[in-house]
Structures are given as C-alpha cells and as structure tokens.
Subunit: 435 residues, 2 copies
Amino acid sequence: MAAQGPLTPSAAYGMISISEAQAIVLEHCRVLPVERVPTHEAVGMVCAEAVVAKDPLPPFPASIKDGYAVVASDGPGEYPLVGEALAGTSGSLKVEPGTVAYITTGAPLPPGADAVVMIEQTEALAPGDDGRKRVKVNKGVVAGADVRPVGVDIGCGTVILHPGDRIGIAEVGLAGSVGAAAVSAYRRPCVAVLSNGDEIVSSDTASLGPGQIRDSNRPMLLAAARETGALVTDMGIVGDKQGSLEETFEKAIQDGADVIITSGGVSMGARDLIKPLLEKKGTIYFGKVCMKPGKPLTFATIEDSGSGRTILVFALPGNPVSSYACFHLVVASALRKCQGWREPSLRRVHVRLSSAAKMDSGRPEFQRARIHWESDGEGAGQFVAKGTGSQLSSRLLSALSANALLEIPQGTGEVPSGATVSAVLVDDLRHMSLQ
Amino acid sequence: MAAQGPLTPSAAYGMISISEAQAIVLEHCRVLPVERVPTHEAVGMVCAEAVVAKDPLPPFPASIKDGYAVVASDGPGEYPLVGEALAGTSGSLKVEPGTVAYITTGAPLPPGADAVVMIEQTEALAPGDDGRKRVKVNKGVVAGADVRPVGVDIGCGTVILHPGDRIGIAEVGLAGSVGAAAVSAYRRPCVAVLSNGDEIVSSDTASLGPGQIRDSNRPMLLAAARETGALVTDMGIVGDKQGSLEETFEKAIQDGADVIITSGGVSMGARDLIKPLLEKKGTIYFGKVCMKPGKPLTFATIEDSGSGRTILVFALPGNPVSSYACFHLVVASALRKCQGWREPSLRRVHVRLSSAAKMDSGRPEFQRARIHWESDGEGAGQFVAKGTGSQLSSRLLSALSANALLEIPQGTGEVPSGATVSAVLVDDLRHMSLQ
Ligand SMILES: [Mg+2]
Ligand SMILES: [Mg+2]
C-alpha cells in the first residue's frame, strides 16, 4: 500500500547547506538571449551591448547662465548689445570685441564670444546715441567662464552604458541624451507559477469546504517574480494527481516558460508528487536543504527537446513562510542571473538585534525582521532589527512588513539582544521604517 | 526690450533651505481617494481599510508532518491502520484508541486522534491475522505533537493588514490566505511629465540641428515617477512659448493629472516661462532652494475649478542632474504621501567616504555616489561610498549606477576620505554592488 513507509524517493535526498544550494542553482542558470528593447521599457533590465555617444554633449559650447556672451579680454565696461543668443535658436549673430550679446542658459555661445557674464553682474543701460541698447558689465571674467565646452558632459565616443549595467532611472536619461531610443538587453525570464495540493482553493473562495485552505503562495510568488523583473504566467492550482501536474508542466513549457515555480508537494507524504515528476521529466540537483524554514526545497532542470531550452524548476515547500524565504534566498538570485546581473547573489548587511533570537539546534534559521537605520546622534548609525513575532513556518504574518531575513546560526540557546548578525535584504530599503 | 535685466519675477523668490522646501511640499500633498483594487494589482499601494480574517488559519487542526495520526496516550506499540487522512480530503475516518491513521502534511487531524507521529519514527508492518495493515510506532508523543491547532497562524478576526500598511509580496500572500481578493487602497497619482525648451528635441532624434540637444529628462522623470507607483502621462516637449505651455498644462489637468512635473524654463532668462505661467495659473510656494544641484527648483499648486482638485506642480531645473536630484529629494516623497505612505520622507543612512568630497561654500551639495556594504571581517560592517566622478550638474554620468545622494554640508575645503556623512537612498539596495 502506497500509504506506508518512505513513499517517494524524497527520503533519499541528502541534505546540503544553503550556500551549496545557492551555488548549484547559479551554476545552472544561463543568461537569457539578448533582445532589442525601447529604452523606456528597459527599466530594470541589464544592458547587453555598449551604448556609445555618437555626438558630444553639449554638441556646442553652451552657456551655463543667463547673462551676456562677451569677449573675456574686453573686461568690465559699457558695451553695445548686438543681439540675443537664445537656447534652441541659431543665427548669424557674432560677437566682435567691444560688443556683447544677451544669452540664455543652454544657448550656443555665438562665434567670437569666449565667456559669459551672469546677468547679476550686469546692468541694462539706456540706449546710446546710435539707438543701440547698451549693457554695463561690472565684472571681468576669464575666457571659458560659465561656458560648458563641447563634450564636457559626454565626449564623443564615450561609452554611456557598459554591458552588465543595470538600466535604472539615470541610465534611461543617459540613453536619451545620446539618442539611444532602444537598447540591447537580456530578455526577461518567463516564469510560470503553480500551487500544488488537493487542499488548496483559490484565494478568492468565500467559504471554505472541509479540509480546505486558501492559496496564498501563488499570488505571493507571482508578485515576487514580477518584482525581480520577470514576466509571469499563472498556472493555477493543480491537485495531487501526477497526470494533472505533468500536463501543467507541459503546458508551461510549451508556453515558453524559462522557469517554473511550484509550491507544495515536496514533503515525504503519499501525495507529494513533485519530486517523482521531476525525476521522471528532468534532473533533480537537490531535494533537501539545511535551512529553516524551507528544508524540502527542491531544484531541478528539464530539457525541452522541442526548443532545446533548459527549464529551471524551483519546487518550494507549501508552508507560506518557507515559500517566501526560499524565493528570496534562492529563486531571486537565479532570476537575476538569467537577466544578466553581474552580481546576482544576495545583498547582506549587518544589523543589531533589538531582542534575543532563539537558535535552532538543527539548522541555520532565516528569521523575518524589520530593519531600520538608527542614528547614534554623533554622525553615524547602524541598522537595528525588530522581530516580527512567532517564526512558525506556516505563519506568514511573520513576513508582514519584513524587509530582511536575519541569518541566525544553528546552535543552542539564543543570540542575545544587542548582538550583531548578518541579514539578507528582501525589500527596497526606501520603504524601511524611519524608527 | 525683454532681453535685459531681471526678466521674470524669478529673481524675487527668496532662497529657502531644502528642509523647508520638503516640509512645504509635504504640507500641500493630500492623500488621494481610496479605491477598491484586485489584490494582485495592489502591490506597492498602501492599504486604506483594515483587512480582517473571517476564518481562522488553519481552519481545522492540521498535521505538520507526514506520518500517523495517533491517540497520544496509546504510546509506542503496534497498531492497526484504519485509513488515510490526506490533505484536501474529508471523510468519516475516526481514530479510536489503539488504532492509527496515515496522515499527510496539511491534512485535517481525524476525530479521535490528538497527535501525529512522523513517518521516520514508524515502521510499516506486515498485515495482521485479520488482514488489516499494521504500523509500529517507535516513539511516544504528547497530545498536540506535530499538529497545528485551529487559528494558530491567523486567529479568526485578526487584522491582517492595517490602514497604512504598504502592500508588498508577503501582504499579497496574507490577503490571499484570508480570501481578500480585493483591497481598499489609496489611488495611485496620475503624473504628467513635460520638458520645456526650444533647444530640446526628442531623444530618438538621429542628427541634431544647430543648438539642439536631446531630451534626457522626460524619459528619466517618467521612469522615476513610475517607479514610485505613479501612473504617468508623457506630455512631450513644449517650446518656449507661453501659449503652448499653458495649453499643455490645461490638457494635463483636463486629462486628470494630480501632479505635473516640468523640467527647464525656471532660470532667470528671457525665455524662462514656467514661473510666470505658474504665477498666472496658481500659487508658487518657492522658486529658489539652497541646494546644489537644483537651486531654481519651483513648487506650485493649481486649483482646477472644474473638478475641485488641487494639482501639484514641480518645476525642475533643466540640467539633468538637477532634475534627477530634485526628483529624489522632493518629488518622490510627495508622490509617496499622495499614495498614503505613513512615512513619506527620505530614507537616510550613514556612509564612509572612500575619497574626499569637495564642499561648496554657498550651498549644501547632494553628491551622487554608489554605496555598498563593507564587512569589517569581525561580524559587523558599514556602508562605503564611492564617488561617481565630476559632479557638474549637467553631467548625468555622475548618476550612472548611483544609489545614494551624499549630503555634503556647505563649507570650505573638503570632507576628508574616511569621514562619515549622511546619505539619502535613491535606489533599491538589493541592487547595490557587492564590493
Ligand atoms: Mg501536499
Ligand atoms: Mg530654457
């Protein structure tokens, strides 16, 4: 009878450390192909080909100030005004020695002029006998004063974006400034997410039947994958039937998934069907990791003979906190590597505990915490971590507003309040609490 | 002639400090109305109404392990197997004293049983004389062992999300676990962005005409606003004509803009038309801020009599770095406040300078930097800032890969290498360099 004894091969998986697991996963991630993307849609992507400035910036000597274009050697004095150099206009205006031209910020310096005197250092005078407007320059300037020379911001041929640069806000601006309306970037991974378990019902189920619980993992993992820049596909809830699971995997692969994320079905029970399916369809690299939560975390690849692609499969445990932690500790880095990140691995900081953290004797534990920056009042400061209550792996409330996973070493007793520990960042610290 | 002397009222604006500017802006931001949003579309939004659990989680006593449901007081021994309790199934199975039932992780504990013995502590035996399967339990357990009691994760009536909680990844999972398919959240602001200047041409212009430069600010500011969660509208490039500017403002307001961001046209030149337009159409609160870069930063509100709305207008200087810095230092917090953030203001940390930072004698300076976390090798660490080259306000390359703005105080000389300064976070530190 299938209901007794070690029922799946799961028991056969040796336990590896979390750092081994992370290394194995990154080793199997291939950077995705390069595609051409309109720059404004490339935010968050990684540049795959250098973007080079074909023109210098500024392309002409440009005024830094509103004021008068002058010949510096003329020095202070009263000069006739020969015209206006306004930004965006071009004309035949020329500044001869002994004359000045009005100029606005960003306008090209007229030929003949070699400096700008800001308007605050000048006075408008009444027109002279010849009817020409005149200006009094109160301050001498050196040649080049308040003029941006050609190419001072960006020299012609400057590499604006290097392969491997992440395209953020400033990078979008930079690409715009050199006319790069599109960039070559590593494709975003297509990530298919499913929840597995006969007990799981959709999160919008109003009343639960006997033995049912609502799906929290699928919406959470879809949001998490999207946050890393992935394109996501919701594969729904799949019951504990090998056939349905296999069909769903086939469909995800047909639809172009680069990565499949499942939750549930990776324990040792009679209906834990994910590991057997992965053994059948691909290669499992690990099925048990020495971490709390998340021990049954499983990683496999499936070769798609049709397309020649290798699909990465992350089979996360069903407990919501286990799913949450495994995503941040293992899946996120993989998705980053696929997208061409130079340094895909975890970002860590050190944080001071504001309360003691109990250690687990069997496994290193990743405790959810809220960290914030505390000033010491003397010009420096440090991160301080607040705990998030019971760390039960089923209790997702422990991840509410969490922005870090504290790395609590395996051991007996507790890490005392006030001690410093390492923490993995799992949220944008521009949201961290101010106290 | 319009080209001489102080030509716009700009010169009349008194200079205020950056902290005054930030306070004035936040004072004029109203939190936007609440709307009902499907939870999976609410990531990044702020919860406006409490989300309460209507059921306990788990809704039934649930097994934590794969193993056998037992009557704890039976203790170790050999017992007949009376059936299976699988996750997601319900039946009439009952565990009488002296019997056991197979159970999987997450399955409801059958009536009569009060504990679970994990499968590793049991052995499957050959069927007994009566043909019934039998199990040897090798370990005694206490009542409640490996069972999650009803409501242990989420008690019935628990507030899962409080008003003011930001909806992140875990929050999406939590909402799912209690069946909240939609949430009430503060509406995202509609932000209209335009660039102003006769010299500005679209960033996809292949060859520049005389006096022209490409638009970097508009794509950059659209991306920046979008990153804060705003819905953005591209209003294009508007030349130095009061009529065109006014029409574009009218259109943005008609189209529902809550916020208008402009760049360029806020200096003292003859064609700096933004301040005069804002004076005509609304109220300017400041037009000069003691900061480098960004001095001409201007903030105004416009009342839309039609809709009764107050539109916030941020008129940023045209220099790309000034726009970049003003967005992060002033606009971002405003967009956050509109979206209901509890603490909209800037996030700061302290960082060690890896090279000296020159001070400006007239204004505090916000220097772009790349910060990363450096371990001291003894279990603690600190942020270290690397400079990004010339801090010229036109040189957007100084913002390439920057994730912080160093707050360099006004003064003479320099802040030495190795000194600690305050820094404003302007990027997600999950992208920070690892060294
Ligand atoms: Mg299951
Ligand atoms: Mg202008």
